[in-house]
């Protein structure tokens, strides 16, 4: 809701903030917070360490020989965003919203393949029901005057608006299926990576590594390539009202909470929580603003 308000609220003739800059700030905040937690962990386990020792230990933990493994989820996340963008460009919003819920099922599939999770038939029924329920809540809303495609795009990719009508449904469907697969794979891969090495590498070190590698696509693809011209004209922090900072803080905090949730509960449980958040945000918006958002607020992907 806060994010929706930050993007659609009055701007007082100020240019609207660029989503790409917000993504970069969120990733930076997550990096700083994870660094702080990782430093605290090192200090707690080795109280005799001096500041220099702690920093040395921190550096060797972050740039350990296996840190490259975090390049994959960071890159896949970028690819997933591009596929979502391609899907939105080629599909109507309802088809996109419904088909993109497949990520709930692909996450389960990868949990079985990579983590050996066992799912009973009753749980499979529950997961299919969850997918249907979330899709129903997501597509419920006023279909009248507003352009769903524009709003979805604005939410996910910033202020870039689409040109022309939907060109190819097949291309869009392929993109959304691929995005769902990649979403499941990325989440479960990160879960496996963290859980496999939790005894020797802390969650916060993994988070620092992930945020570090996520900074590169956020900076080079989002900020410089996509919005470089707009930033040069208006500045990096143009349109950063207090509510924008609140959105950024919530996104960063949410990202850290998701990482904890994935580590100690798992991605399937996280998907249930995310689905519930969609319902809660729908109800809250309907009660508070007397109009449903119709936006995937709860599904806004948080890079963990």
């Amino acid at each position: 809701m806060v994010m929706h308000h930050s993007r659609n609220g009055p701007t007082d003739s100020e240019p609207r903030y660029l989503a790409s800059t917000a993504v970069l700030v969120v990733e930076t905040l997550k990096l700083v917070a994870s660094l702080a937690f990782a430093t605290r962990d090192i200090y707690k386990t080795n109280r005799s360490y001096s500041t220099a020792d702690t920093l040395r230990s921190l550096r060797s933990s972050i740039f350990a020989p296996d840190c490259w493994k975090l390049v994959l989820p960071a890159a896949l996340y970028t690819l997933q965003n591009s596929l979502v963008y391609a899907a939105i460009s080629n599909l109507d919003a309802i088809t996109f919203q419904v088909t993109y819920q497949l990520k709930i099922l692909t996450t389960v599939l990868f949990s079985i393949l990579l983590l050996g999770t066992s799912i009973s038939p009753k749980q499979w029924v529950a997961l299919v029901l969850l997918t249907i329920g979330v899709a129903l809540v997501q597509v419920a809303g006023p279909l009248g005057n507003e352009s769903w495609k524009d709003r979805l795009t604005a939410l996910i990719q910033g202020d870039v608006l689409l040109e022309g009508p939907a060109s190819s449904a097949v291309r869009g469907l392929v993109a959304v299926f691929a995005a769902s697969l990649i979403s499941g794979l990325t989440c479960v891969y990160f879960e496996k990576l963290v859980k496999d090495s939790l005894s020797c590498v802390s969650l916060w070190i993994r988070n620092v590594q992930l945020s570090f590698f996520s900074l590169f696509p956020a900076l080079f693809i989002g900020v410089l390539w996509q919005d470089g011209a707009a930033i040069a004209e208006h500045g990096f922090f143009a349109g950063y009202r207090p509510i924008v900072w609140l959105t950024i803080a919530l996104q960063a905090f949410g990202g850290l909470v998701v990482a904890v949730c994935i580590t100690y509960a798992g991605n399937v449980a996280k998907n249930f929580a995310a689905s519930l958040s969609i319902v809660v945000s729908y109800v809250a918006t309907a009660v508070l603003f007397r109009a449903p958002l119709t936006m995937p607020v709860g599904t806004t992907h948080v890079s963990t």
């Binding site: 969850l130 899709a135 129903l136 419920a140 009248g144 729908y282």
Partner: protein
């Protein structure tokens, strides 16, 4: 105006139905969880209510 009203009601019904399905799915998922191994008391503990709640893992560790 009437059409908008109907659409508004239809959307609320759809969202409520979706929310109910999500809640049902959550409940069903918990109930359908694959049962974990039952923590049975060891033979020597039978009849001793104070020890029957000892977790199996603890018992195995003690035995080791």
């Amino acid at each position: 105006m009437f059409q908008r009203r109907i659409r508004w009601i239809a959307n609320r019904v759809q969202a409520t139905g979706g929310a109910a399905i999500v809640l049902l799915a959550m409940s069903l998922y918990q109930r359908g969880a694959v049962p974990r191994p039952v923590l049975l008391p060891l033979e020597k503990d039978k009849g001793s209510p104070s020890k029957t709640s000892k977790p199996l893992l603890f018992e195995l560790m003690s035995a080791r």
